[in-house]
């Protein structure tokens, strides 16, 4: 394949990826009347009324704050528990390590639909129903195993001699881990945080089951835009566009490491 043909293929693919998002963006800037009556590639009467509505309406805006809050909690919890565990998996053999690792991975594989009812009952019974921490904890079911998996990949790339030299120099484990080891796998930590963010941000089924009012995520608010007069397309599109913004920002920050991160640190 000549390099020109390669780039044409790639460009066509990127256009295919962007076209639905472009359409959503345009729809968010149109009036409902225009959406329903005419087919226009560009809004005739450009309006930001939908955006104003979302940022001022108390039924909409808190949804974004709720989502951001539980995602942030999830990232912090996941990284805190996964870092030492990943270190253990990458450096030591211990009783049942392989089985434990596979058991962790099975939790990424479990279809969330399987756990809906039990989760509801569990969090109801411990009094965490409809709190941010409940969603954050529920999402650790797949973000923690994923974090361990990715971090273990990155940590295994660091030569063991570094650990041994540090111990010989009289470093304690916590001091060595924080001042020497963590800086070495900085990009791995960033990539892991990105993945925890990603999987917690896109998940809806568990988040919807575990919340009702106080911690309701934005994606759930969106599914309830059907009003008496039918679907409010413009508003729906606007809410959709706004859910893309945090993801886009986060990708931009990790763009240098993203490819390696997707390979789970294993290349």
């Amino acid at each position: 394949m000549g390099s020109k043909r390669r780039y044409i293929f790639l460009a066509a693919w990127l256009i295919f990826l962007m076209l639905p998002i472009y359409w959503l963006l345009m729809m968010s800037l149109k009036t409902n009347q225009e959406i329903l009556s005419t087919f226009t590639l560009w809004p005739e009467n450009l309006t930001v009324a939908n955006y104003v509505k979302i940022f001022t309406d108390p039924t909409w805006f808190p949804g974004y704050i709720n989502s951001t809050l539980y995602v942030a909690m999830n990232v912090v919890i996941s990284l805190t528990v996964a870092l030492p565990a990943a270190y253990a998996f990458s450096r030591y053999n211990f009783l049942g390590d392989k089985h434990l690792f596979f058991w962790l991975l099975t939790n990424i594989m479990a279809p969330p639909a399987v756990f809906l009812l039990p989760f509801f009952e569990l969090y109801q019974s411990v009094g965490l129903y409809d709190t941010h921490i409940a969603v954050a904890l529920a999402h650790t079911l797949f973000t923690v195993p994923l974090a361990v998996w990715i971090l273990e990949g990155f940590m295994s790339g660091v030569p063991k001699e570094i650990d041994e030299t540090a111990y010989l120099d009289g470093y304690s484990w916590p001091r060595f881990f924080i001042t020497i080891f963590l800086p070495l796998i900085r990009s791995g930590v960033g990539v892991t945080a990105f993945f925890c963010f990603m999987f917690s941000w896109v998940e809806l089924l568990l988040a919807r089951t575990l919340t009702s009012v106080e911690a309701k995520p934005i994606a759930v608010t969106m599914t309830r835009t059907v009003s008496a007069s039918g679907l409010d397309w413009g508003l729906l599109a606007t809410a959709g566009i706004l859910t893309l913004v945090p993801g886009a920002l986060v990708i931009w920050f990790v763009r240098k490491h993203i490819a390696r991160g997707f390979a789970l640190g294993r290349v």
Partner: protein, 288 residues
């Protein structure tokens, strides 16, 4: 690298075990409980043994969902894996366009799953959608809410849009790890483009491709929110996959026993497949 035997390492993994066990083991035990009992209320429950399992395994609606699910996952793998490899080979290796392409590629992966459904809904509706209007304009009778085949193809294209980037990014990472010297050697030997792919790139991609197939299988096998928003499983039940049948059963009809039995069977299928893959990946780590 030889690992050291060290049982105290358990202390380091303990927090992970506790956090995950809280969310994994207790709910799983609840599911097992449900699957073996008939529950009428808090104090009236009967042990029914494997009755629910037998019922679920004989349910024709679930057979339909399972067949649709297998077809869907197979189609997803057959399209996305070759397409992903091809597109990864098209990505520039360095230069300013690398970042731009990567960011654009990753964008669909960060769209909340139900919003993916919304995007494709507003994109392909015959009345307000870009693709819907254009397809009908050039003479296709396209309506994904009315025609089973259209609905199927729309869900499939949506999934290709949503997830092919994952395969591309994985393969791209694999390709980046190939030293330039390999390509130079191939050039000196006068190797064809195909030979370079077959004998240099493909072997290096084996590891990441296994991860890609595993992840794509798992995520396609438990797909729920995207088709639910787009088609609601219809028309009829043409796009009703396993997760959706399960959710309807458990939350819609409140048939806890059969739903729990179904959950366990569902989970076991995924587990079995993944275990085979896990062993393969472990073996490869050992060899390579």
């Amino acid at each position: 690298m030889e690992k050291r035997e060290y049982q105290w390492a358990w202390l380091m993994v303990l927090p992970v075990v506790l956090v995950v066990a809280f969310s994994a083991i207790m709910p799983l035990m609840t599911v097992v409980n449900y699957s073996l009992q008939d529950i009428f209320g808090p104090n009236s429950r009967f042990f029914v043994g494997t009755a629910w399992f037998t019922e679920v395994l004989r349910d024709p609606a679930l057979h339909g969902a399972l067949i649709r699910q297998l077809l869907f996952s197979a189609a997803v793998l057959l399209i996305q894996i070759p397409l992903g490899v091809g597109l990864a080979l098209c990505l520039p290796k360095k230069g300013p366009w690398v970042s731009v392409s990567l960011v654009l590629l990753a964008l669909p992966l960060l769209v909340p799953w139900n919003v993916v459904g919304t995007i494709w809904q507003v994109f392909s509706r015959p009345d307000v959608g870009f693709a819907g209007v254009i397809l009908n304009g050039i003479g296709f009778d396209y309506n994904y809410t009315g025609d089973s085949l259209d609905a199927w193809l729309t869900v499939l294209v949506m999934d290709v849009w949503h997830w092919t980037s994952l395969v591309i990014l994985l393969c791209y990472a694999g390709l980046q790890a190939i030293p330039d010297a390999f390509y130079q050697a191939a050039r000196i030997d006068g190797a064809s483009r195909w030979a370079v792919f077959r004998f240099i790139e493909l072997p290096k991609l084996k590891g990441v491709l296994l991860i890609a197939v595993l992840l794509r299988f798992i995520f396609s096998f438990r797909i729920y929110a995207e088709p639910f928003v787009l088609t609601g499983g219809g028309p009829g039940n043409a796009t009703t996959f396993l997760s959706q049948s399960l959710t309807t059963m458990a939350v819609g009809q409140f048939d806890l026993g059969p739903a729990a039995a179904f959950s366990l069977i569902y989970f076991l299928i995924i587990l079995l497949f993944s275990y085979v893959f896990y062993l393969t990946i472990l073996n490869m780590d050992r060899e390579g």
